[in-house]
Symmetry: C2
Subunit: 249 residues, 2 copies
Amino acid sequence: MRYKAIIQYDGSQFLGYQIQATGRTVQDELQKALTKMHKGTPVKIHASGRTDTGVHAKGQVVHWDSELTIPLEGYQRGLETLTADDIAIVAVEQVADDFHARYDVAAKEYRYFVKTAAQRDPFTRHYALHYPFSLDESRMNEAARLLEGEHDFTSFCSARTERDSKVRTLYAITINRNVDGWEFSFKGSGFLYNMVRILVGALLSVGQQKLTPQELQAALEKKDRTALNCRTAPPQGLYLWEVSYKEKN
Amino acid sequence: MRYKAIIQYDGSQFLGYQIQATGRTVQDELQKALTKMHKGTPVKIHASGRTDTGVHAKGQVVHWDSELTIPLEGYQRGLETLTADDIAIVAVEQVADDFHARYDVAAKEYRYFVKTAAQRDPFTRHYALHYPFSLDESRMNEAARLLEGEHDFTSFCSARTERDSKVRTLYAITINRNVDGWEFSFKGSGFLYNMVRILVGALLSVGQQKLTPQELQAALEKKDRTALNCRTAPPQGLYLWEVSYKEKN
């Protein structure tokens, strides 16, 4: 039987989602818990995608196969008991044998939180970017409209990205001002390595008048990361928010 | 000259406020920063009181003496630059030479946050108690009314407390329900070792019908911690919220 789970994690104490030779990772923590539940038989899990060191998840999706016959609630409780408290198991369900957490992704949403108060806040240092500058909302929205749609996002991904095609579709970018600062949401068909953090870095530069929407457009067209003059926003403000899947009939 | 500062800290990565033989403490972190600003001359700071491992502060107050003539803003920025980002310096002011952060305290407020959602939350594990039980508000308020006022709080402090007099005045206990759970506030003349955490533990037991307000009253009168049948609430929900001082003329 194949199982799907929605999980959350605070990424600040993990070396990212994906298992590494050394270091604490979400995948390793979950696989160890599942292996324990299977009396030592190794269980491999597959996620919708990786998240980097320090990046959080409110709705990461994983799947695994198991012959264990326990109620779904037992899975949820068992996994929470066997993992540290910076992981939470929101839901477990049984899915079709051909469901795949990564290959069947229809869309993903990432959110990025920015706090603009002058004073640094010790309580949100791992959960939002402290960026004590005023940002021009209409310019950021103008830039967001240029980025939406289907584009080759070579200029908006790490030069280390190995994927062949860098064409992705950004369905929607929304920028909301809140009491503490700003909340950015990015919904798209898929995201390249560091893409959301570079998009945020670019929007912040536009908002701060360091980059014009026209320069952003020109950089997008050049298909070269070095053509885009902005920093990659740091990981702590970033959350994998929701993953949605194709309906199968 | 004597300086007073209001500071905040996330207590989760500190072995409490007060300097220890080993381990990271808030006092040590601040004194090292001040000593650096004084070119190696040791500076000692005095706080309104200690906080334990894992306990946070939104408004801890400290004072120190210095011959350095720099603007107050320079102190604020210098200290923030020289301390880790789990400490923030909210304000620095010059005060009278006889001001004392501990001896001149008129009142202190502590707050304690409880989250009652069934699902554990990885993002608040260091900042609130996860207590997924329903609580009876009117019973907790009944108990709070019994605790307010001047009492010998021997039953509500750690047996390790060394102070001679355990008489303190609780000016007000307020209990507010919010979207995530509960927020408790305790305002008093001063608090004994572990007193707020034991008060919270007692109120939670009353709210969960494990203890009656009458049993609480009886335990208060017995002046013996073992007479009070409740746990000490864990540190992560606790914040030293505000310290107020006597007006001097």
